[in-house]
Symmetry: C2
Subunit: 244 residues, 2 copies
């Protein structure tokens, strides 16, 4: 029995439930991992926890798994969003993968004044998020939304969602520390990572006027955007999230 193969499925899970596999999942299960009828894998769908399931039918373009036993209860994620300006493809993929492993609930690529990437492939990034959730043992796949202009996102910013602003221009400055929290729920939060070229003056001015914003300095060196994302999520999870 291989309990290391985990698949996200868009199907109900429960005792004796039969679950069809997509062509991609069948290829992965039967060609890449070389599983066959009777072998096990772990399934999750974002609602019903994690289930051990056995292969009942194996084909080239599909297959059927049958749920056996629940192995994990459904677990939520802290109500944390990540906003970042997409950068080079490999680093953007990396940010999505790391954000899922570290535990964010929603990933929002934003177009800033100095963002280089004109567009992103939302479907590709969502597939990366799914793969990362399968790998890290989570029971939820965070949503990756379409690229939106930062201005528009900030204009509709929820009054109760705090925003941790990490900007490379703050490197070496004595910006605020990560706020602590003694209560169980820190409430809704988001992390905003600046683009490689930093935020424009207009963007900075706007962020400074928002009462939800908390500026955070990430040490004395200049971090790349992908490093800053991982560091900021780590600090948030330790202070306010589910690493406490």
């Amino acid at each position: 029995m291989d309990t290391k193969t985990r698949l996200y499925v868009d199907h109900d899970l429960g005792p004796g439930q039969a679950v069809p596999l997509t062509a991609d999942q069948a290829h992965y299960m039967f060609s890449v991992m070389r599983h066959g009828v009777g072998d096990s894998a772990l399934l999750f769908n974002g609602r019903d926890g994690e289930w051990r399931a056995k292969v009942a039918q194996a084909g080239k373009r599909g297959g059927i798994m049958v749920c056996d036993q629940r192995t994990l209860p459904q677990r939520g994620l802290p109500d944390l969003w990540l906003l970042f300006a997409p950068i080079k493809k490999a680093r953007t993929d990396f940010i999505v993968e790391k954000a899922v492993e570290l535990g964010v609930a929603r990933i929002l690529p934003v177009q800033t004044r100095h963002t280089n990437a004109e567009r992103i492939r939302q479907d590709r990034l969502q597939a990366h998020a799914t793969e990362a959730a399968e790998q890290c043992g989570g029971t939820l796949v965070p949503e990756v939304v379409e690229l939106q202009p930062l201005d528009r996102v900030l204009a509709a910013w929820p009054a109760d969602r705090r925003l941790l602003w990490c900007d490379e221009a703050l490197a070496g400055q004595t910006a605020g520390k990560m706020p602590g929290n003694d209560t169980t729920s820190p409430g809704p939060w988001a992390i905003l990572i600046g683009p490689e070229g930093g935020f424009s003056e207009g963007e900075q001015a706007r962020l400074r006027t928002m009462p939800q914003v908390h500026a955070l300095c990430l040490g004395p060196r200049i971090l790349r955007a992908d490093t800053a994302a991982v560091a900021a999520i780590t600090l948030w999870q330790t202070a306010l999230g589910d690493w406490r």
Copy 2:
């Protein structure tokens, strides 16, 4: 004047000092960045701080910069080592780059029982470390040492160097939190990141007997080795290092 081009040079720096460029540096300065005679760049050598220097001669296979003014004092790094088991090439490169940005003094690739990589290109990883130091504004380039067996490294482990042990097998467990420190110098430390397959039972048993070892849990999800490295260095820098 472009102060964004930063180069590490193995040469003395000081007022009016002439500094020769290597063929690679000349290619970068004059072909990639399109700088010419009279243009400026920033130089550092790990000893004399950061200097603004002007191009005095530009050639295809070399060039000469002349130091103008010191722009940063020499800054040290916290006495933190990173030990990790090399993984796939892209992720190993990533760990080295991130460790430099986040601020470690020495990078030690270690061969564990379950390490897949048989060998690494130490010279290539050292070049990555140099590039990351140039990019992040540091004035030191951390040393990347040759791959060594973990057993041998632990057998000669300094009595006064504490070791933060981050293992994916600890995911979700209530291992110790990051220790805090109120004094200016936390003393020598190291971070040990486990290989993808985890540490062997023998390695775990050995680590448990070492009085220098402090186990750290990095949240409820299973992190890839590269994510764990960035998260652990971030937590160390915030609690004990130069992000305080």
